[in-house]
């Protein structure tokens, strides 16, 4: 059988697409969570800075024409962080430094409600700073108090590291879950294909019914095509079977009529030359009908052997049935059929093929066996199942033994015997189909011995 050309795998393609998508989503998720966390954390720090700077500004007042900023203890206390972040501040009055750290610069506008946030580098470290101002109105002057409050970001980056780790874990977890789901989804999807494949493979060669099992929508066209292919196959198969049957009927029935008339006539005519003509006619009819029969048989056997349908059978029973049916013909020639060997030989094979093969072997034996002689049929299971047919005839010509099983080949000593020469070929084909073979020998006494062996 030809194997189909394979290009890539749907399973891998689907799996890779899903897993790749999951990986991209996981990375996106990581960055989204992280950037959101950065925003939230920064917002948290900013809120505290604003609260602190606001409490400081609230404590600003003009006393005796001088600006006084009574920084509340809580203003710095609320800036306490687990990482002990450093705090810097500077207080200005109308841009003039009053107290705190001189190295901080006021970023904001002269006055305003808006707090200005920014990053700065103070003493070699990055700080988040907020600039805020408040207008104080004294007895005879307006003045602007401006405060810059800055804090390092150690706690924030520790928090962010923690969140990043969690986000990474989340991403990895999401990826693992999505990958597992992908594998599952791939398996489930492919499982549908596998199930269809299994149900196609499991069918016997004769089973050409359409597939009725429900399949996913996407697979429906495939199953439809498969069903229509099988319908056509079924139709053409039954057509050819019908054709064979019809052909046999059309050929054999007239032959039967002619033969019967010839036989009947033969009983009535006395003139020797007429009788001889009738005999020749019957002989010719027999030969052609036998040839037609074996040709049809052979066609049928070739078909069945290609789609071997094995069932459990008992070879001994099969041979006994056959012998019972052939006994009337054997008796007409005063021949005896004897079945010997094991009591039961179970075997899994095609009963019709095997019976046909054995019938051809026994036919041959009856053809060549002399009147009132014995034909031995032996069935044995060991060393492997085999059926041996021995007659008491002249045996095979020794130089032809190797070519006898070829199609239409007949032995030299068969000139006086009707037969198309297909009998041994059929037997050999059936044996081959069952993994066995056929062996032709002559017995010591000169009779033919044919052994049909089957695989064990």
């Amino acid at each position: 059988m030809d194997n189909p050309t394979v290009s890539g795998s749907l399973r891998y393609r689907l799996g890779l697409t899903l897993i790749g998508g999951a990986a991209v989503l996981a990375v996106l998720l990581f960055f989204a969570v992280r950037s959101y966390a950065v925003q939230v954390a920064q917002q948290g720090q900013d809120n505290i800075l604003v609260a602190s700077v606001t409490s400081m500004l609230d404590a600003a007042a003009i006393r005796d024409n001088a600006v006084e900023v009574d920084i509340p203890y809580a203003a710095f206390s609320m800036l306490t962080t687990p990482a002990d972040d450093r705090v810097f501040y500077a207080i200005f009055q109308d841009g003039t430094f009053l107290s705190g750290y001189r190295d901080l610069g006021y970023l904001g506008p002269d006055a305003g409600l808006e707090n200005i946030f920014g990053f700065a580098n103070v003493r070699g470290v990055l700080v988040r700073q907020v600039s805020a101002s408040r207008t104080l109105i004294g007895a005879n002057k307006r003045t602007e108090v401006q405060i810059v409050l800055a804090q390092t970001q150690d706690a924030l980056s520790a928090t962010l590291d923690q969140i990043s780790r969690n986000a990474a874990l989340l991403g990895v977890g999401f990826f693992a879950l999505a990958a597992a789901l992908s594998v599952w989804a791939t398996a489930a999807t492919m499982g549908q294909l596998d199930r269809l494949t299994t149900s196609v493979t499991r069918r016997g060669p004769q089973d050409l019914r359409p597939f009725k099992n429900s399949v996913p929508q996407e697979m429906a066209p495939l199953v439809q095509s498969l069903n229509s292919l099988m319908a056509r196959l079924d139709q053409s198969l039954s057509q050819s079977e019908d054709f064979i049957a019809e052909a046999a009927h059309r050929v054999r029935t007239p032959l039967a009529t002619v033969r019967s008339y010839a036989e009947a006539t033969l009983q009535r005519v006395d003139k020797e030359e007429n009788r001889e003509a009738m005999r020749s006619m019957v002989k010719a009819i027999d030969e052609s009908s036998r040839a037609a029969g074996q040709l049809l048989d052979h066609a049928m056997i070739t078909f069945r052997a290609d789609h071997l349908e094995r069932e459990d059978i008992n070879l001994v029973e099969l041979v006994r049935d056959l012998v019972l049916r052939m006994t009337p013909i054997a008796e007409m020639k005063d021949l005896s059929l004897s079945v010997q060997g094991d009591g039961s030989v179970p075997y899994a094979g095609d009963a019709i093929l095997l019976q046909n093969a054995v019938r051809n072997l026994v036919d041959n034996a009856m053809k060549y066996g002399p009147a009132e002689s014995l034909i031995d049929i032996t069935v044995r299971a060991e060393p492997h199942p085999h059926i041996m047919v021995i007659d008491r005839g002249p045996g095979f010509p020794s130089h032809e033994i190797s070519t006898l099983t070829l199609r239409f080949k007949r032995g030299q000593n068969a000139e006086n015997t009707i037969g198309s020469g297909l009998g041994l070929t059929i037997a050999k084909d059936v044996a081959f189909a069952h993994g066995g073979g056929i062996k032709l020998e002559n017995t010591l006494k000169g009779g033919a011995c044919v052994t049909l062996s089957l695989s064990s």
Binding site: A245, A248, T253, P254, Q267, M332, A371, T417, I418
Partner: protein, 222 residues
């Protein structure tokens, strides 16, 4: 013996019936299933010869219906189909045997005999001539009170003679009935079988007379 032949080919049917009558059987012919059913309903038959392909249906359907109605008349199927594909089906449906067309009439007769022998008991088929009682179906021969065992060809040869005592059979005619057409038989072979029959009939009041140049004839003493 009374046979029913179900066959739609009239030529073949005629050939079979004329040949069966020649052997001394009574035979009715039906050319479709409905006729066959009518025959079976009104008459009693020892054997039915049944074709498969009939104008009003499959012969196997008739067989099935026949078996369902509890009649155990043996049935032999006449089939043109391949033996490979049809055999199992027809035997499973209850046919006793089958012959593939075209058939040797002697083979058909032999199969009929074998089937009848298997179902024997219900039919009396003996031929009594003088002190010889012969049952061609069972193959029994009683000479006086002695049972004699006959081989198949001896049996068929004796049947020929006993069905037509006093008639002369040429050696050639006898050979055509005893042997297949595929073997050339010497006239000596016929002499051997006639010799054997004479030996079996020794002591009875039947004998086989040789008519030189013409053949043989069964005569009864007295």
């Amino acid at each position: 013996m009374k046979f029913l032949l179900v066959e739609d080919n009239h030529d073949l049917a005629n050939a079979i019936t004329s040949r069966m009558r020649l052997d001394g059987h009574v035979i009715d012919h039906a050319d479709k299933i409905s006729d066959a059913s009518a025959f079976v309903a009104t008459g009693e038959y020892d054997l039915i010869l049944l074709d498969i392909m009939l104008p009003d249906g499959d012969g196997r359907a008739f067989l099935k219906q026949h078996r369902a109605s509890d009649l155990d008349t043996p049935v032999i199927i006449l089939t043109a189909r391949s033996q490979v594909s049809d055999r199992i089906g027809s035997l499973d449906l209850g046919a006793d045997d089958y012959v593939t067309k075209p058939f040797d009439h002697e083979e058909l007769a032999a199969r009929c005999r074998a089937v009848l022998r298997r179902k024997s008991g219900n039919a009396q088929t003996t031929i009594v001539l003088g002190d010889v009682v012969f049952d061609p179906v069972a193959g029994h021969l009683m000479v006086g009170h002695e049972a004699v065992t006959l081989r198949n060809r001896e049996l068929r040869l004796l049947e020929l003679f006993m069905n037509a005592p006093g008639q002369v059979f040429s050696k050639q005619k006898l050979a055509d009935r005893l042997f297949s057409y595929d073997v050339d038989v010497s006239e000596n072979a016929i002499e051997v079988y006639v010799g054997r029959l004479r030996k079996h009939l020794e002591g009875s009041d039947l004998r086989i007379t040789t008519l030189r140049g013409l053949g043989y004839r069964l005569d009864r003493d007295g």
